[in-house]
Amino acid sequence: MSITRFDEPAAAEFRADVATWVRDALPKKWQTSRASLTPDEVQQAQREWDAALHTAGYAGLSWPSEYGGRGFGPIEELIYYEESSRANAPDGFGRIGRVLAGPTIIAAGTEAQKAKYLPRILDASEIWCQGFSEPGAGSDLASVTTTAKKVDGGYLVNGQKIWTSFAQYSKRCLMLVKTSSDLPRHHNLSFLLLDMEQEGVDVRPIRQINGEEEFSEVFFTDVFVADEDLVGEEHEGWRVAMTVLSNERGTTEAATRLVEATAQIDLLNRCCASNSRLDAARLDDRRELLRWHILRSTEEKAAELDWFQAGSILKVQWSELIQDSTRLGLDSGCSVHRDYWRHHYLASKAMSIYSGTNEIQRNIITDRVLRVAR
């Protein structure tokens, strides 16, 4: 039985356990000199954190126990993220696997797919990426043109994906591909699990405005995917993709972003924003509001209330909060942390773009929450 309310005694116990564990498990270097770590050191810390999470059983908190998870619900997930946020813990490297690939396979995959993939998602020994966007299909995701042609025993994939995060580190890719040129829109796509370490996959990292190369363009030339790696029905991949996107925009994603916002706003309040206390205090209020909005949405989700609308609001909220925080950091002109803020300010520019731009989130709210027909 998982916890359904934050005021249950079990929630307090769980919180205490997590807090103790996080405090003990956190890499020392991360605790003491986080702001000055190089990108490589950050990545190293993230990988170590992935491993620690798995060993301690915190990797699949809300996954069913038959798939190696703890069988808990959204409340435990959130408590974990709250406590790790309080302790300024890193964000793991296996997150796309844990938050997107795993839950999608659990919800829509076959037993064979679950057995094959889930264990290595949990221990982060296989990193996953998400191959949805294409040069001609961003916000208009249903227009993807990368094709998967039916051949004996599987499919041959041809085409190009772009903005694929972590592609160069990834063993596997969640792919949305076109499998029919006749069927109507939204019923012509399929969802595949593709092995990135094979002939015909060409990953070319793209340099980002912050100098990092986190995303790539990926070219596929006659890349084979076996029938067993089709998720859901053929041509019904759009439905599966929507599951992924609802996870991406959900409460746990928001909670990981709370980790980031917390670190930044604390730094503003502690040091950088000494000349703009009021602005920093307002950001702190918004951070607390985000925390409570996540709590509320999580309890509504645990109570199986209609929480659908929460995803878009959360996404707009966390992305704009982090953007405003890093902007204040940059504007504050704090010489000690100038590089830190420049880095995070630039990185934050992506947040209103990925996992559905904030304009698209606003469209979703008017279309599907307020239900104003066009």
Binding site: R5, D7, W292, E299, E300, R362, N363, I365, L370, V372
Partner: protein, 277 residues
């Protein structure tokens, strides 16, 4: 306390909503008749009886509904009074409104026959009723202003949460009205609901309203931060209402369309509660 409402809260809110909706004339007119319907249904006394299990979170639900009908009845102050003070059924059924001390004079912001006026300790006071015009400037929340010294901290916290919830109800009403307006008003030969700038204003109003609701709930949970939550909640509601005015265009700026009833109530709640620390 959970952030999620219990069944009792939903039930009371639904019933109160139905009664307010069927009886309400102008949203701004205090209406003794509506109150008598509510009181006869027992909705005014429901928070006083522990058997009913009505918690603060449930009162927030009712407060939000009542915000759609600003100033119409003393339901929120009565539910809070039933929770705080030892008042008998008859007193509660009369409706409880807060006393406001204005200089040496004690006045009641709610103008209606038979309504009981209490000070911050719950003791009935002799009060001079205000006129309807001045009424709109002094909402039931004056309870907190005139008698702050006599209200102990937890009551103030609860009142803050409840009145932010009232403000969220104001935003609900304005957003509903704005959505309806966007669907019928035509420009350039088409309903303005098709223009994305308008649609995004509505989306932003919705986001602000939902955030304000979170602030109300958080205020009920975090006494030490409740003043901050109230300020933030009122400000977010104002954002939602401002966007509603913008979506209406010139009509939104008219007294006749009535958005000012909601905006004024929020401004008053904010200024009165804003003074309390």
């Amino acid at each position: 306390m959970s952030t999620v409402v219990e069944e009792v809260g939903t039930l009371v809110a639904e019933n109160v909503h139905e009664i307010l909706e069927s009886a309400a004339g102008s949203p701004a007119a205090p209406n003794a008749k509506i109150w008598s319907v509510l009181a006869e249904g027992g909705w005014g006394t429901i928070s006083a009886d522990p058997e009913n299990g009505m918690e603060l979170r449930d009162i927030l639900e009712v407060a939000r509904i009542s915000g759609r009908f600003p100033y119409s009845t003393p339901i929120v102050s009565t539910l809070l009074a039933g929770r705080w003070f030892e008042l008998d059924e008859e007193q509660l059924a009369a409706g409880v409104v807060p006393a406001l001390r204005r200089g040496t004079e004690i006045v009641a912001p709610y103008y209606s026959e038979g309504v009981m006026v209490v000070d911050g300790s719950g003791a009935p006071v002799e009060a001079a009723p205000l006129s309807v015009e001045s009424f709109s400037l002094l909402t039931p929340v004056a309870l907190l202003s005139g008698a702050t010294a006599e209200i102990h901290g937890s009551q103030l916290v609860e009142a803050r949460a409840a009145y932010v919830a009232v403000a969220v109800g104001c935003a609900d009403a304005v957003i509903e009205q704005s959505v309806a307006w966007a669907q019928t008003r035509e420009q350039f030969g088409q309903p303005i609901k098709g223009f994305q700038a308008v649609r995004h204003h509505l989306a932003d109003a919705h986001i602000a309203r939902e955030q304000a609701w979170t602030a109300a709930i958080a205020a009920a949970h975090e006494p030490e931060r409740s003043a901050r939550w109230a300020r933030q909640g009122f400000s977010l509601v104002r954002t939602a209402i401002e966007l509603g005015i913008q979506v209406h265009g010139g009509v939104g700026f008219t007294w006749e369309v009535g958005i000012q009833h909601f905006l004024n109530q929020v401004i008053e709640l904010d200024s009165i509660l804003g003074e309390t620390q």
